[in-house]
Amino acid sequence: MLFCLTTQELMERPDLWEAVHRLRYQIFVEEMGWEDLRRPDGFEVDQFDHDEAVHQIVIRGNEVAGYQRMLPTTRPHLLTEVLADLSEGTPPSGPNIWELTRYAVAPGFRDGRRGVSTVGTELIAGFVEWGLKRGVDKVIIEFEPMWVLRALQLHFLATPLGYQRTYGNQQVVATLLSFNEHTLDVVRSRRNHHAPVLARGYPDMFGQRRAS
């Protein structure tokens, strides 16, 4: 199940807030080495965790298994502020275009050695479902070039926004992905799972069992 929470809603659930920001720290600082984000408290938080950000969280059992953050392009976002050199010219923006950032699958939920795990594809199905429901049909993503191939395999329409660059030991390319109902169908059949993944409300409190 994938839960969509605003920053405010996330802050109202301290157990969840901590799990999310700890996972982000573990992956982006410790694993990928984004040193600018290193902090003594072990939580990764930046200036884009603002009141319009949408936090998408995949829960498995009683754990945060996957996460991504959606940012509106109608206000400053990563591509305009932090990763501007990935874009040739002015990046596209508008209410139908959001930026997908901090895509993360927790280490225990990466099934294969190299492929995309079921948590990974749930995140993808999740943002497409979420977007189609609220009139969003494009996302900007800064990802490794191999994701271009995967996006095309899933029948996204992909357009590069600039050339790939090397950050540390990582190659990154900014890409605009457009999607529609057909994309959602393809994503769902690749997952062999046709039911919607978006859940309403909050996940259960961590450390508690469901009452029923």
Binding site: E88, V116, T159, P160
Partner: protein, 243 residues
Amino acid sequence: MSQFDRTLEYIDQLQHAGTAAAVCEKLLGITSDFGLTALMAGTVPQPGTPAGQQKQHVLLCDWPVEWLERYVARNYVDHDPVVSHMKQLQAPFQWREAAQGISFDKSSGEVMGDAGAFKLRDGLAFPLITLDGQIVMVSLGGEAVQLSAAEFGLVSLVSTYAVGRAMQIHTMAAKTIDHIELTPRERECLQWAAVGKSEWEISQILGISEHTSEKHLLNAKSKLGAVNRVQAVAEAIRRGYIS
């Protein structure tokens, strides 16, 4: 027109190519300006894959035919320094870097020397990874390769989209062959078989003879490539023909 606008135009044309051959031709049309005149892209065969099966791994190919024949026949894939470099999942690199970076065994030197004899003196190569974790190797080569850093970026980006388009075409082709046409009756019989009804019970429910219901199930079984009724039902559910 800026170089990036040109890149976008190339990518747009590639995304409209209808066959793998058209993708190949389009891509080489772009890269030949930089001396890259030969192209090979495919998934990496496991070491020791028989020569006969190696060609099934190819997605895009415009490579000197005799070179390809020799490459497969002599099993060069297991000794090619470019391939071993790529298997470490490196970012785009030039062949000469791969040749410098590793200590040659005798066979590796032979592969590179032999490539030169076919007017493939240098090139660039990079790996991509599919959704299910398969490595796709992309290699472009030629006799006189001239690439600035910016052009290197252009070529690797455009090639990535070319491979993506080739994979889309590949899956579409597989799907047409894979598509199975079940008749409404066959589907109905399977649906009842799925809830545990016998052939006799199905015949009673549908008002047909037991022989006919048996025939429908047999047909469905063979269309689905199943060895028995249980597998036919499982396969029909997996493919979404029944629920």
